[in-house]
Symmetry: C2
Subunit: 433 residues, 2 copies
């Protein structure tokens, strides 16, 4: 088999065979096919697409490029959650302890933030001492002890994805639903989970800007999951404004603790609860939606979720006292409040611009190897729909240096729109697949 023939077949609109797809992925993994042929192939896939069958084969081949974790010796239906990436999206830190507190084993492997979106690992590492680099054995031990582990991907998981993603990132081939789907699902399937809940974001701050594109991605992801024996559900949620009130690693941890204490902003509570309910149903620990909903509410009200988060932090080497004392989290030395220059209602807080501004502050990274500053970030003082008067605070920057503050202010530009009339109410959970 020759790479050029596979490229030409896809270029001319053909559907590739399992063998052809396996040949390309194996060539990537073993560096047996040169990058210039892989990138040409990726571009043909971007233009021509892939059938559901091809996408499933691609995912399989990527799973097979590395190890597949075997969690079958652990009891229970193991359920993970994945989000396609948002701004201020910290739901994982809420739902993992809640689902575990309700009896669902959660072997969660997450990623780091890149571009304007944040990542669960960066948030967890804002807790002093928290270790995300557990081995598979440590992960299993953690699952046995507390029913949950929150870790980063090990190098053995889908090495083909690592190489393909690096190449896609520099060749304009990121924006392809089959490639995105296979990338996400290969890593999730290799984790050894039984079921998966997906939060596919849509809107200005999301990778997919329209509900239609998000629905197509969701359908593709669910189809791959089912084909691989992983029970998969997806919800599509709005990502026009940041989720919750905070964007920045330590302040997002604090916000999650508030939710686990029974407080927190309503949008974050709604998304986290919705995802947890679905995890309970997939995990077989709730008889129906009403039962699941009751269990989640109880896990919050009883403090069981918060207690489970404390144990997660302890078992992964972090300072669990943050759960009772938020001042133990890193904090930035300076604050700057952006105030409204007019009276009216907040119409929009642009999630992408806020995300980019938080990267400028140091909360995220432009390049994979950038370090992040856990303390800095942005607080949304006035969420969309809020009435404001002249001088009211709209955004609050927590920053370390004036340079970075100014860079963030420059990026924020027209992030917040204020107008005379109240904006129409919007829904958060838009659809399910």
């Amino acid at each position: 088999m020759r790479a050029i023939d596979v490229i030409v077949k896809k270029r001319d609109g053909g559907a590739l065979s399992r063998e052809e797809i396996g040949f390309m992925v194996d060539g990537v993994t073993r560096s047996a096919i040169p990058d210039y042929q892989i990138s040409a192939w990726l571009m043909t896939v971007l233009f021509r697409g892939m059938t559901a069958e091809e996408t499933a084969w691609l995912t399989d081949a990527m799973v097979d490029s590395g190890a597949r974790v075997d969690l079958s010796d652990l009891p229970g239906i193991k359920v993970d959650k994945h989000s396609t990436g948002g701004v201020g999206d910290k739901a994982s830190l809420v739902l993992a302890p809640l689902a575990a507190a309700c009896g669902v084993p959660v072997p969660m492997m997450s990623g780091r933030g890149l571009g304007h979106t944040g990542g669960t690992l960066d948030k967890l590492e804002a807790i002093p001492g928290f270790r995300v680099n557990l081995s598979i054995d440590e992960m299993k031990a953690a699952l046995r002890r507390t029913g949950v582990a929150m870790i980063g991907q090990t190098a053995q998981i889908s090495p083909a994805d690592k190489k393909l993603y690096a190449l896609r990132d520099v060749t304009g081939t990121v924006e392809s639903i089959p490639l995105i789907s296979a990338s996400i699902m290969s890593k999730k399937i290799a984790e050894g989970i039984d079921a998966l809940v997906l939060d596919v974001k849509t809107g200005r701050g999301a990778f997919m800007k329209t509900p239609e594109a998000s629905r197509r991605l969701a359908a593709s992801l669910v189809s791959i999951g089912q084909a691989s024996g992983v029970r998969t559900q997806a919800i599509i949620t709005a990502m026009d404004a940041p989720l919750g009130r905070t964007v920045g690693n330590a302040m997002e941890v604090a916000e999650c603790i508030e939710v686990l204490r029974g407080g927190g902003p309503s949008d974050l509570v709604e998304v986290s609860t919705e995802l947890t309910i679905r995890m309970l149903l997939l995990g077989g620990v709730a008889s129906d939606r009403a039962d699941a909903s009751r269990q989640v509410a109880h896990a919050i009200a009883s403090g069981a979720g918060l207690e489970r988060f404390r144990r997660i932090i302890e078992q992964q080497g972090g300072d669990a006292r943050v759960v009772d004392d938020l001042t133990r989290l890193p904090a930035a030395p300076h604050r700057h409040v952006i105030r409204s220059e007019r009276e009216g209602f907040v119409q929009a807080v642009d999630a992408e611009l806020v995300g980019l501004a938080s990267v400028a502050l140091g909360a995220g990274r432009d390049r994979v190897d950038d370090a992040v500053d856990p303390a800095v970030g942005i607080v949304v003082l006035s969420k969309p729909g809020t009435p404001v008067r002249v001088g009211d605070g709209v955004l609050e920057l927590h920053y370390r240096s004036a340079d970075r503050r100014d860079a963030a202010l420059a990026r924020l530009g027209s992030a917040v729109v204020i107008d005379d009339v109240a904006p129409p109410p919007t829904r958060l959970v838009l659809d399910e697949v």
Copy 2:
């Protein structure tokens, strides 16, 4: 400027600026942009195309990647000819001496055969001693002396094309009209010519399989030529069957000498004459088509064309006695005749299969660095339209080893089609642009 932004712009259907195109070509030439980004970009160009303006800028940038020969100190309007590649297409060896004999300076830079198509340099080198690697100064001296030089491209001519072509060849991005156009025209413009006649082949043995595709390529080539101040004309000619009776380097030289002696197969005579007429008109040595036609006929009848060919061979170190004695050309030790198994009329002789079979014999190359055997080849004993009886010879293989003969026979398969009724007459020169 970043390569990724140029890739994404073209991927999304945008028209690139002169600066963006120059940036990519310069990045290729200096190896400053990695191959995987160049190949991704080439694939976007294949899918999205380029405007006439973009294609002209691409050509310009490729010309500027190397040296541009200055022939302005030589008198006359310098005219070259280029063919997009065919099987048995040896017209250059006929028209260069004819046009020069009629007073048109012909600075001809040609290529080698690749795949199933032949190349002028390989044919010339079948003449014992013939040197195609003249320096630019030697080329100019030859032009002054005999009005014609037939050489290979020097390394200084469009180095970007060399790199781009190597990459296109292995990434499925050869078949793009803007990329093909810029590749051809950058080399021709860099030669320092004033005018150019193009023979765009169409059909089974051609790169472009349909007249429509050939017309689009011809229009693109002519448009680039005009934009660069090179007066350019194109004719579209049929390449379903081999041109003339022979496919193989030494035997093709012999066939050209026959045409210059006033004989030779009518299709080769027709295409060579048509192209020469246009060279005379562009070169300003004929007042009109009738005048040009008369001059070409006279150059053949008087022996002036043959005499000019003798001088070309002499000045480039070859054994000019081949002009009088064809047995001085290399000949293969063995022959094998394929005979008709039925009575009827030859409907088709598949140029591509005959070309591939001649490569199997050793007359052409599958890879750029393969050596060719000047002596071997295939004679078309029965051209399309010929009536045949059982046992009549159809093709004759001139071969060196039984292995290669058998490989050629395997490739020939159904190359020759014979049926009861005479095929409809076909035209050779199909269109002009």
